[in-house]
Subunit: 382 residues, 2 copies
């Protein structure tokens, strides 16, 4: 029998000077929550932590105005089970309009799963695998290094040095931003390829900036490189653009990081022309109502010919790493140089050949990542 | 030359004991903002007011954390023009995820248009018509009475009395909620029809609760009544449900109040099987980034065979009434008994045969609606 005796909530800056083709990150923030239980372990309360993934701002007002009060009103009945808690958090919310609140619920969902796994004395990936996959866990998970941002004054040699540093840290596959212009980007792509070698070691990400004509122009210009993937060419809700683009690009494509519900994901599967034999789905549970909703998305996949292996979530956080290992996803993003300390994995599991191993501590694994657990504790004074 | 010297923001309860098939409204709130200009009129500063439409909660945190600060940072250059201000408010926001922030921007957009029209000394509908319709204004606008909510202890005679009271107040067309069960709803529909007479005087609204089978069962049961419309049968993002339902229901259908961007509206037009010769689009500018974005939605319509006359926005507020008159929409919602004082129109323009006339004061018309302007002024101490 456990209960949550206190919920703390804070905002932490994760600003950086980088930008993609759509936004800059100079004012980016993240919410951090701590769910403090009445169970003690080694003289400290067992605490579940959560935070939101990068790219969307800290949903501080939403957490305080609606979602934390509803979670406080939820009757756990002695068992920390994220699924009924989710239903309570979403009570009296109308359907549709999946943004912002999906981030707030994602933060609390992460903390609930962290706490639930700690109380069961298991790493979260094991709890997930026991619940939904007969206990089977992938020993390691594919990860790629996301970077290659636009940055004031950053030239080709700086981009190459960045890519080399990812390679030196064990990443075979690296990702870079595109979208400013073909004139600027083709030399950038070719510079990155000089470092990473094969096109299959390089992914490119347009962050939803292109109209169809521009997306096709990039497709035509890039098809010669045999890239690992071409990501989010057009607006995330312009499924028809994605579908038409597939007529012009045979290589793998990826999208979904800006879809925040199973209804939106289903529309991508219905209308986006995504190809199960090569394309990738990037929905990020920490921006889209958490694992409770993400599992609904995974459950949709077979109807459209996809499997969990088609999923490589956005976000580069440990929550998705646990899901990847526990449910057999295709991999996980990683940001070796940005969004610290929220990005990255256990201090004990270096990346080798774009594979990362798993933490051994209970929960999501925060306690094996020193800079992160320090930040979570300091922000919530726990 | 005008500038905004202060922005004030408050939260006002609009709670009521009603419920639809999806949520209850016991904790519903609205944000109110006041944009205080440096221009004086009759010894008072000219002020633009805005608020959010019902059904979504006050976006107080979002306004304070992101959108008011960005508006404060916008360089108006002496001219209160909502369109460039909108671009500033949406700077560094990623694409997709249209919910919550769309409400926050809608609140500020309403206040900007109110202020812009007041500074041009025009009713907003005239400013809109001058800008986009060669000055042509509809003298009156079709309105229908939205009510018929589920309410603890409400029986058929209470429902009939409610419908009669709308008729007595000049509404030919009335709307009621459905969705609890056919067994409960068919007697309710027939009771309402006893009061309103023809089926063309009654609309029904399921608030997105049905799966396809239930939506079809309701369609089969209701087709005999020749209703004014069958609204939001399924999840607002389940366009395929809407498309399939049209194979089972020849009468008019309506949806869109839970779509909050032109991208989402475009997907409804692309995939929802909506029929321009009979169906209705209900997107509500005050929940979907305001008039600046709503105009983008209207501009999409011709490509899909629709016109502005297919639009009868959700929300029952004066902002949409101005748009309806200035851009020739098909009408506007009205809530005679709920969401006061935010619902309803000028005190000087009673409803007759489901048509309402237009205010004569400058701006959105708040100053001709005493209970509303009092609330707006008190909440923002202006």
């Amino acid at each position: 029998m456990a209960s949550i005796v206190d919920i703390r909530c804070a905002v932490v800056p994760i600003a950086s000077a980088i930008s993609n083709a759509y936004i800059d990150f100079s004012k980016m923030t993240a919410s951090v929550v701590a769910l403090i239980s009445d169970i003690q372990c080694d003289g400290r309360p067992v605490i579940g932590y959560g935070f939101n993934s990068n790219g969307r701002y800290a949903p501080d007002g939403l957490l305080r105005e609606r979602f934390i009060p509803r979670l406080q009103g939820h009757d756990f009945n002695g068992i920390i089970d994220p699924e009924p808690a989710w239903t309570s958090m979403m009570s009296n919310e109308k359907p549709g309009g999946h943004g912002e609140r999906s981030t707030a619920v994602g933060v609390l969902d992460m903390a609930l799963w962290d706490l639930a796994a700690k109380l069961e004395d298991k790493p979260l990936y094991q709890l997930i695998a026991d619940k939904w996959r007969d206990g089977q866990v992938d020993d390691s998970v594919f990860v790629y290094a996301a970077g290659g941002y636009y940055h004031p004054g950053k030239d080709l040699s700086a981009l190459k040095a960045e890519m080399q540093s990812y390679r030196d840290r064990g990443y075979r596959v690296c990702k870079m931003k595109i979208g400013n212009s073909l004139e600027e980007d083709i030399p950038r792509i070719e510079a990155a390829l000089e470092v990473v070698g094969a096109g299959q070691n390089l992914a490119v990400d347009a962050n939803g900036r292109f109209d169809l004509d521009t997306a096709i122009a990039y497709a035509e210009a890039m098809k010669q490189y045999d890239l690992f993937w071409y990501e989010e060419a057009g607006d995330p809700l312009d499924y028809d653009l994605q579908r038409q683009l597939a007529d012009h690009y045979d290589g793998p494509m990826a999208t979904g990081e800006n879809l925040f519900s199973h209804q939106d994901a289903r529309n991508l599967l219905r209308y986006g022309g995504m190809r199960p034999d090569r394309d990738w789905l990037q929905i990020d549970c920490a921006l889209s109502y958490g694992l409770v909703e993400y599992k609904r998305i995974l459950d949709l996949l077979p109807e459209y010919g996809f499997t969990n292996r088609n999923c490589i979530p956005h976000g580069g956080h440990q929550m998705s790493l646990n899901i990847a290992a526990g449910l057999g996803l295709g991999g996980n993003e990683s940001y070796p140089d940005v969004f610290a300390p929220f990005g990255g994995f256990s201090d004990e599991t270096p990346v080798e050949d774009s594979q990362v191993g798993l933490h051994q501590c209970t929960g999501v694994g925060f306690e094996e990542k020193q800079n992160l657990i320090s930040t979570l504790r300091a922000a919530t004074e726990t």
